[in-house]
Amino acid sequence: MSASDRDAPGVAAPRPSMRLPEAGLALAGAAALVLAAWAVPWLKFVLTIALAKGVAVLGILLLLRAGQVSFGHSMFLAVGAYTVAFLAPAVPEALLLLPLGALLGGLLGLVIGLFIVRYRDIFFSMLNLALSMVLYSLLEKLYDLTKGTDGIRVSALTFAGAVPDRETQEWVMFGLALALALGFGLLVRAYLASPMGRALAGIKTRETRLEFMGVSARRVLLFAYVFSAVMGGAAGTLVAMTTRHVTPQLAYWTSSGELVFIAILGGAGSALGPFLGATAFELVRVYAAAAVADAWQMILGGVLLLVILFAPGGLWGMLTSRLRGRA
C-alpha cells in the first residue's frame, strides 16, 4: 500500500484553496483612505486615529489567535502616549519618540508578559484588566508628574528636524500612521504564517501537543504578547502626536474594551480586519455623534450585536465572503 493508491478517507470539507489578494485589498484601502483624507480635510484627523488604533488592534488580533482576550491592552497605548508627553519637551523629534514609545511599550509587555503568559482565558483577560487599572490609577494619582485627569499637553514636535505648518503636520501624521499600519500589517501577516505564528494558533486548540513537541507554549505566547505591546506602544505615540493631549483615560478599561470591540467588529481573519474595524468604528462614532448626539454608543452597540449575530468573521469576513461569492 502506497500513499497514492490509498483513497483519502473521510474528509468532510477540503480547505478553500482560493487566496484572496490581501495585498491588493490593502493597497486599495490605503488609496481610499488617502482620497478620503484629501477630499474631506477634517477626516485626516479621524482617519489617523483610526489607523493608530488599528495598529493597536493588530496586537489584540495576535492574542485572539491564541484564544486569549486582553481587556487591558490600552495600557500599552498609554505607555506610548505618555512617553511622547513626558519626553517631547526634551526630545521633540517625532521620529525618535515613535520608536522609543514602541520600545517602552514592548519592555512593559515583556515584564508583564513573563508573568501573565502562565494564565489562560478569563484569568488572562482579568489580569490584563487589573494591571491596566493599576497603571490608570498611577497616571491619575501622581498629579505632580502627570497632572492627573487634566492630562498633559504635548509640546511642539519636530519631524526629521523640521517644524511643518499645521496642515503639513496633519498630512505627515496621517502618512506616518498609514506607513506604520502597512508595515505592522505586513509583519503580522508574515508572523502569523511562520512556525511561531502557527504555533500561536495551536495554543488555542492543542496546547498539550505543543509541549509534547518540545515547544514551550508560554514562550510562544510571550513573543506574541511582547509584539502586541510594541504595536500598542507605537499606536500610543501616534495618538499622542495627533491629539496633542494625553490623559489617563487612555489606560482606562473602557479604552481596552474599545480595542477588543474593534477587533471583533473588523474580524480576526486577516491583518486587514483591525483597520476595517477601526475605520468603521471611528467613522460611525463621528457621524453618529453628529447625527444623534448622545446615542452613538447605542448605534455602535447595535452594529456590534449585528456583527456577532450575523457575521462572526467581522467586516473582513463579510467582505471576503462577498468577494468569494462573486469569484
Partner: protein, 274 residues
Amino acid sequence: MSASDHRRAEAAGDPDRPREATRAPLLSARGLRLAFGGVKAADGIDLDVMPGEFLAIIGPNGAGKTTFINMTTGYLRPQAGSIDYDGQPILGLSPRAIVKRGIGRSFQLPQLFSEHTVLENAALAIAAHAGLWSPLTPLLRPRYREEAMALLDRFGLAPLAEARADALNEGARKLADIAMAAALQPRLLLMDEPTSGVAATEKMGIVETLVRVLRDTGVTAVFVEHDMEVVERFADRVAVWSQGRIAALGPPEQVLNDPAVLRDVIGIEPAHHA
C-alpha cells in the same frame, strides 16, 4: 514475518548471541506507584523495554495503561518508583525535556491542531524538531513543505495534506497523530491505542504502514492495543496490565495462549485464540 521473528529473537536475548546478554534496556521502570484517590492506577510497575523491540501493552479498561505512558512522558508524576531512559533518570522532567531526550508519544485521543491543515500539523512538528522558530519566514517554506509531504507520504496521508485536521476520520487522525510524534525522530515511541476507532477494513493496512515506517527508522515502540490479532502479528513482547500491575510479560505466542491471562485479564475464552 521474518523481520519480526528476528526482532523477537533479539529482544528475547538469544543465548547464541552473547552481545544480547549485556545489552542495556532503553527504558527501565521500577516500582512505579500512582493512586488517584482509592484507585491504584500504578501499583508497582517494573518494566524494561529493550532497544529495537515492539512491546505491546494489553489489558482491560482502567488497568493503568495510559497512566504508564503519562508517567513515562512526564505528564503525570508517580508517587514512588523510578524511570530511567538510556541509563539516565527522567523522573521529574517536564514533558518538553523528555521529548527532547528522544521519547515521543501519540495519544489515545489524537491531539492535532484542529484548525490547521494536516500538512501544517506535520510541518509544525518538523519545525519544532528542527528548532527553527524564525518569526518571519513561512512555516510552509519549500523545505518544510517537502519534508512534511514526505512524512505524510510515508504514513499514507499525502492525499489528505490540504484537509483540515478536524475534518479527518478517526483512523486518519490516529495516523496523523503518530506521524507528528514520528516527526520528532524519537528513539522510543509510546503509542496509546493506535488502532482504536479505526475501521476494521483499514486497520491491518494502517498497522502495516506504521510498523514498516517504524522498523525502517529503527524506532523502539511501546503500544497499547486491544486487538489481539495486531498484537500477535506485530509485537515482539506483550505486557498484560491488570489493576495497575503487570500480570504477565513475554512473547505473544506464550502470553496470548496462557489460559489464565485470556480468561481473567483479557476476558475471552481460551478456545477463541488457541
